[in-house]
Symmetry: C2
Subunit: 196 residues, 2 copies
C-alpha cells in the first residue's frame, strides 16, 4: 500500500463510534461517508463491555458489508471502545487492508489509563495494544482551528491531514465520526448528544 | 401560520422513518437536518406494531426534543408506520404547531389498504384518518426527475415544492427521510438497505 495514495473528494470512509455503557453488550455504529458530504450507509454491531473483542467484531462488520469493496479508510474515535475494549489498529489494518486514522479530541491521559488497566488480569496485554498504536500527533485542520490528536496505521501523515481537512467541515471532528456519534447516542438514549 | 412562510436554506427539518417489523414494538428514527445538507441530531422512539399510537408517540418525541424550538417542518415517509399504525397529520400539525409533508415513492394502493383494514376491529377509524390526510399531489423536483407523491398539513404547495427541491439533493427522496431510512435499517438489520 502506498502510504500517500491519491485522496479523491468522494473517498469512502467508515467512521465508528460506540454508545453509552448501559449493558454488558455495547452497540457500535459505523457510518459510511463519501468524503465529508454524503452518508451512504450505516452499520451496527455489538462489542463486550471491557472485553477484548472490538478488533475482531469491527473486522467482521467491515468484511461482511456490501460497502467493503468501496471503502478506503477506517476512522476511529480513540482506540478504547465500550469501556477498555482496546482496538489493535495494526491488526485492523492488516485484516481489512484498510488504513486506519484514530481521532482524539484531547491528548490521552496515559497515566490514568495505565492505572485503570491494573484492575484487569490481562492489563499488560491491553497496555501493549495501546502502545502499539504508535505516536500521537497534533493537527489543526478543522473548523475553528481547534486542534485534534491522531494516530495512524497504513497511511502517511500528508494523507491523514488531507482526509481530516476534507471531512471536518461542520466541526473540528470529521463528519463520519460526528454523525456516528449522533446516531449511537440518539438510538440508545432517545435523543442525540453532541460533543462535536 | 402563513402557509407560504419564507424557506431558509438551513431550515430545520425532522424526517421520520420506521424500521422492519421484527417485534411487537417497532423502532422509529428521526433525523434533524439543516436543509438538505447537514444532520444535526437523531431521535429514536417506539410505536406499537399495528397499533394506533404513532401520532401521539411522534408528538411526544418532538415536544421532548431539545431541537423542538428550532424545528420548522416534519417529513413523513407515507402515513402508515409500523404496519397499519396510521398517523393523523392534521393532529400532528395541531399538536406540534409544525407543518407536515408526507412523501411517497409511489401512489398508494387505496383498495389494497382498505381491504387490509377490514381485518381490524377499528378499521373504519383508521380509514377515516387516511382520508383526512387529504389530496395526493405528484411532484417532480428531485434528482433524475423521478416523480414523488406528497400530502401536506399546515403548508402551501409552493413551499412544499421549495423544501422538496432544497432537500432532494442525493436522490429523489429528501435527505432527512433518506438518512432516517439508512439509520433505521442499519441499526435493526446490522447494515442499511437503500431504497433511495
Amino acid at each position: 500500500m502506498n502510504l500517500d495514495f491519491h485522496v479523491k473528494p468522494e473517498i469512502r470512509i467508515l467512521g465508528i463510534d460506540d454508545s453509552a455503557l448501559l449493558n454488558e453488550k455495547v452497540m457500535i455504529v459505523g457510518t459510511i461517508f463519501r468524503g465529508g458530504e454524503w452518508i451512504d450507509g450505516v452499520l451496527r454491531s455489538e462489542i463486550t463491555r471491557d472485553g477484548l473483542d472490538a478488533t475482531e467484531v469491527i473486522t467482521t462488520m467491515i468484511k461482511n458489508s456490501r460497502h467493503y469493496g468501496q471503502l478506503r479508510i477506517i476512522m476511529l474515535d480513540g482506540i478504547t471502545y465500550g469501556g477498555f475494549n482496546v482496538i489493535d489498529i495494526q491488526e485492523l489494518y492488516g485484516e481489512t487492508g484498510l488504513p486506519v486514522i484514530v481521532v482524539m479530541r484531547s491528548y490521552p491521559d496515559f497515566e490514568k489509563i495505565r492505572s485503570a488497566l491494573r484492575h484487569f488480569s490481562d492489563g499488560e496485554k491491553r497496555w501493549d495494544i495501546i502502545k502499539k498504536a504508535g505516536e500521537i500527533e497534533k493537527i489543526v485542520t478543522g473548523k475553528n482551528e481547534t486542534p485534534i490528536y491522531i494516530q495512524k496505521a497504513g497511511i502517511g501523515a500528508k494523507n491523514v491531514e488531507k482526509i481530516i481537512r476534507l471531512t471536518s467541515i461542520r466541526s473540528s471532528i470529521p463528519e463520519p465520526l460526528r454523525v456516528a456519534h449522533l446516531i449511537a447516542t440518539g438510538i440508545i438514549l432517545g435523543e442525540s448528544k453532541g460533543k462535536a
